[in-house]
């Protein structure tokens, strides 16, 4: 669905980087891991066509995403940003409704169907009772869920989410990851920037490791998530714990 070909993301002050070539297929969940400043967000924005690559190309269903009209892109691909809630005051329902924007012709206004889709998305994220609240009055976690509800009402084929578990409590982290997995099961491609190795280990099929110097490697999750690779990635000692058939990574701190 979304393919990168010899892609080099454009980060100022970075000389070069491993050209990325991968193909996100329907039903796959990709996790992008890397330390702060490695370029996870830039990569995600480049994949969404919001930022021009330095070299190579991103293809959405075999069309170069830079050549497509933004509206065509938005009808297939939704982006969940890291910072939400900027801009003018708006209610929760209005915010979820803007996810329908790419599907409404300029002279039309939202139909009852659009409203139903937005309401359904809010319900799915347990935000129905906040429908008429102003976004500025929501907590960080509620805003994060609203951003995901907005993307959900965009009914995308491809999800690009920048740290979707940000600000979320444990229950909602699991709920959101479950929702994204459910989307993948119905044939969507999902790409996530993640900080939480354990969420990555549990939910992602494919992992892309992005090093601060621009190097990168990618592949099946269980092949990529090894202690030596991750220790080098984060420059941090890690230990791996197995419990009930699952793998967990914990940082080893010097404090005893």
């Amino acid at each position: 669905m979304l393919a990168a070909t010899d892609l080099v993301i454009d980060i100022p002050e970075r000389k070069s980087g491993t050209p990325l070539s991968f193909d996100v297929k329907a039903g796959e969940i990709w996790g992008i891991l890397g330390p702060n400043g490695a370029g996870k967000t830039t990569l995600l924005h480049t994949l969404a066509g919001l930022k021009k690559p330095r070299a190579g190309s991103v293809n959405l269903n075999n069309h170069n995403i830079q050549d497509l009209r933004r509206k065509q892109v938005a009808q297939q691909l939704a982006v969940v940003f890291q910072n939400n809630g900027e801009g003018f005051p708006a209610t929760v329902l209005e915010t979820a409704m803007i996810g329908r924007h790419p599907f409404i012709a300029p002279w039309d206004i939202e139909t009852a169907d659009d409203l139903a889709i937005a309401r359904q998305a809010l319900q799915k994220l347990e935000l129905s009772n906040l429908e008429s609240r102003l976004v500025s009055t929501l907590s960080g976690g509620e805003r994060q869920r609203l951003a995901i509800a907005t993307a959900l009402s965009q009914s995308p084929k491809l999800w690009l989410a920048d740290e979707p578990s940000n600000h979320l409590d444990l229950k909602h982290q699991v709920q959101i990851m479950g929702l994204l997995a459910e989307q993948a099961d119905t044939g969507c491609g999902v790409i996530l920037c993640l900080h939480d190795l354990n969420l990555a280990a549990h939910w992602c099929d494919k992992i892309l490791l992005l090093y601060p110097n621009g190097e990168a490697c990618w592949g099946d999750a269980n092949a990529m998530l090894t202690v030596p690779a991750l220790e080098r990635l984060y420059d941090q000692k890690l230990s791996m714990i197995s419990s009930e058939g699952q793998t967990y990574f914990m940082p080893i701190s010097s404090r005893t």
Binding site: L50, R69, R70, A74, F88, T91, G99, I109, Q154
Partner: protein, 334 residues
Amino acid sequence: MAGAKSNNNTASLPRFFTPLLVLFVFTLGALTLAITTGSVHISNQELWQVLHGGGEPLHRTLVFELRLPRALSAFAAGGLLAVAGALMQVLLRNPLADPYVLGLSGGAAVGALVAMLSGLSAAAVSGSAFIGAMISAVTVFGLAHGTGSWTPTRLLLTGVVIASGWGAAITFMLAVSPSDQLPGMLYWLMGDLAYARSPWMALTVLAIISVVMLPLGRSLNVLARGQMQASALGVSVRPLEWTIYISASLLTAFAVTTAGSIGFVGLIVPHMLRLVLGNDQRLILPAAALAGGALLTLADTLARTLIAPEQLPAGVITALIGVPSFLYLLHRSR
């Protein structure tokens, strides 16, 4: 706003329709008041006769040659400014933005003062003001565009600096002007409709831009969430921002050309409407055209009657009405 699918959206249309109807009635009321009040009072009945081709000749002259053109000019200028302000606030995503924030009024004022100092006619003053406003708009846009990055902050900062440059030029010109010309200049700077005679150009621009903005309203709503978010939702951000910038500049240039630099309408009217009606630009833009127009019509009526036969600049009245009512709404809001 009604499209092919309008049969499906029974929920949305009254939401737009009722406030606009109320504002339309309010506007008609304001225009009627403006035409009937003054040194010679015209009753509603007499006005009716005049509008149907009857009535006394004096009344006919008063209505068709003095009061109606002036009232319509006031309406057009107010509407232009309020729509321009609403657009600028979305473009810059800054609630403090008004039509003048990018230095348009300063450019217009310098143009107008230069024409006045050269002893040119009223029409030349208007033309010169328009040219000044457009020079300012192009300068700010070109400088803010500069090396390619084009952020609201950068645009805003460029505009503010250019505006203070114009401010210095205005002060300089006032300082060196002969004292007999000063009152006329000060009135122009505060906004004055005493010489507004032909509203048609301004009204036409207001109508055209309002229609152009109708299908863009929803995109503006999305743009208000930020450039990235808008782009991710399928808005072609750069062309839309250019359209807004050019439209707002034209609106403002025609407004200052008609009425001088009238303050507060462009800042306060969109905010008052947002506090009452919410933040849907598809409703706010036409509502701003009506409410801004009606407010300035009323302000101008007060300006020429309060201390009659002397006249006040209308800009003074808009500030006197605007400030307390805005503070009240702000205080009352959540």
